[in-house]
Symmetry: C2
Subunit: 336 residues, 2 copies
């Protein structure tokens, strides 16, 4: 079926994660009509996962009560590195066995619609930009704090891919030269001092050294140290959590200032598990530190540093925005 | 005289510094036909300096043997912060007494040609991009190492000004949280560990602590610790200089990696006094460190990290490129 024979009324936004596949049917105003979710079962290999992605997309359409032919395109967020032009996924750490998989073309064959592929964090950023906290801006940086720290850039209204399509790896900007070892093998990356992994490490080191904390009790109740556990300990004023989180926020403030000093964006949006659990409370101290470290103080308060608005939906909504822009040529939201 | 009545065959590129004013007449191929130079005498105030700038521009035209009416526009690089749209210069540290001076409009009245104003370091970057090391790229970052460290970004062929026209302040990106105090009042900025000021500080600390070095002897011969003195000490294998310079280069490598991780440009160009004195020898170790710290190793060697080519002329040539683009609508070089 040719692209222009499709109605283009709806698009499907998808997120391919290491543990789950999400799909959402999104209308021209950027509203989610229905969603579907599956376990990725990455261990069964790319063939299986691609079939499962197609099923999940069709299931979302079914739940929205629309015929598949009403879907004008599918946007897919996948863990990098990827090549969006060729629709290729290289070897993401959380998809073992994937090595140069032509996800875009294969999914397009199966679903019989145009597929647009993009890095998942870039799509989270695009979602917040077009439909979330960044609405009305032209320049926005998304910083997503989870077990790692990822990001994306919108510059002058365009998603910045970069020369090797590797832009936005802000978790590996160096803020503390020769600091703690990072998952990437280097030292002093932001991720090594301000990710949930780093926060957890420092809390456990404190507890091991005999410091008192309510964290062990909360972890026993919840089963593990989640962002929710951190949020609860912080609200209860647990001194160890307050100190460790404060330090992570300070580093995030330094990172924010470095980014502002380099590219001078209009807005920085913080998202991800830790931010969702704590909201504005998490962002406020980051903003204070960042503004101390801007070099050009003129108009410093005009650069907004805010919490994300779309939560878990940023990725699929960003994928839908991409699908609209690239597949059906009728953008969602402000561009519509 | 109306803009389109001018021939637009030549433009003048100017650089307004704290101690000197440079002007160069540049033809359509980007060649410098003639130059003129004056002392700024900033202490005499903006009125005087603007008159002197106009005289220097006319003198350059005279030396090129062209009539002033053959000049289609003048590009001016000035120390930031500036507002290029309004042609305003705010209060640069090295131009005391300047506070919201309408340099563009006033110079335009005096010289009777369109004036384009831009941050001086941005123009150095634009010069290298259009006519120097960056020729043939679409994305380039300029890093200029002198008493401070400044920079500029060309993204997708466009100079990145930023939301507050404050982009490119990469000397104040934080690479060593809580590190040495920087001239900006914060701690751990790149400039506090890798500028010539920082190099000089560390060499003097070493000498004060009793370490042997040929630097004091060379300084006695030259009068002061110049970039040339550093280059000579390094070539002679002076251990203190080798160590201190090596550390600065390591920090510059970390900064380069941070920038590549964030925006993934095609090329990083190092310029400024220290780099000019040492050339490729200075950039090689920076490249080695930077490539260790890229997070996406795929195609890492495709990102080029090189020395600038235009030396002292980068600024006036960048100003000429700007004047061509904005004032006379017939670009120099690749765009011509």
């Amino acid at each position: 079926m040719l692209e222009n024979q499709r109605s283009g009324k709806f698009v499907v936004g998808m997120d391919l994660g290491g543990t789950k596949i999400l799909a959402a049917v999104v209308d021209q105003e950027g509203h989610i009509l229905a969603e579907a979710k599956s376990a990725t079962k990455a261990e069964k290999g790319p063939e299986y996962v691609i079939k499962r992605m197609a099923q999940t997309a069709r299931k979302a359409a079914q739940q929205a009560g629309i015929d598949w032919s009403a879907v004008g395109g599918v946007g897919v967020g996948a863990p990098g590195p990827i090549d969006p032009g060729e629709g290729m996924v290289y070897s993401p750490p959380n998809l073992p066995g994937w090595d140069e998989i032509a996800l875009g073309p294969r999914l397009s064959d199966t679903l019989d619609v145009p597929i647009c592929l993009e890095n998942d964090v870039n799509l989270g950023t695009l979602g917040e930009y077009a439909l979330g906290a960044g609405q009305g801006t032209r320049d926005m940086v998304g910083i997503f704090v989870g077990t790692g720290v990822g990001g994306g850039l919108i510059l002058d209204g365009q998603l910045r891919g970069g020369f090797r399509h590797a832009a936005g790896e802000l978790g590996h900007m160096i803020v503390l030269a020769d600091g703690p070892v990072c998952g990437c093998g280097n030292r002093g990356c932001l991720e090594s001092v301000a990710s949930r992994t780093a926060i957890e490490r420092d809390i456990q080191l404190g507890i091991a050294a005999g410091r008192k904390s309510i964290i062990p009790k909360l972890v026993r109740e919840k089963g593990r140290l989640t962002s929710g556990v951190l949020a609860r300990a912080l609200r209860k004023g647990d001194p160890l959590t307050v100190e460790v989180m404060g330090r992570a926020q300070w580093y995030l403030g330094l990172l924010t200032a470095s980014i502002v000093n380099l590219i001078d964006p209009e807005m920085i949006v913080f998202g991800g598990g830790v931010v969702e659990a704590l909201g504005k409370q998490f962002v406020a101290p980051i903003r204070v530190t960042a503004r101390q470290y801007y070099i050009q103080q003129a108009g410093a308060e005009r650069v907004r540093i805010v919490a994300a608005k779309l939560g878990d939906h940023a990725g699929v909504l960003g994928a839908a925005v991409l699908a609209r822009r690239l597949c059906s040529h009728s953008p969602i939201g402000r561009d519509g």
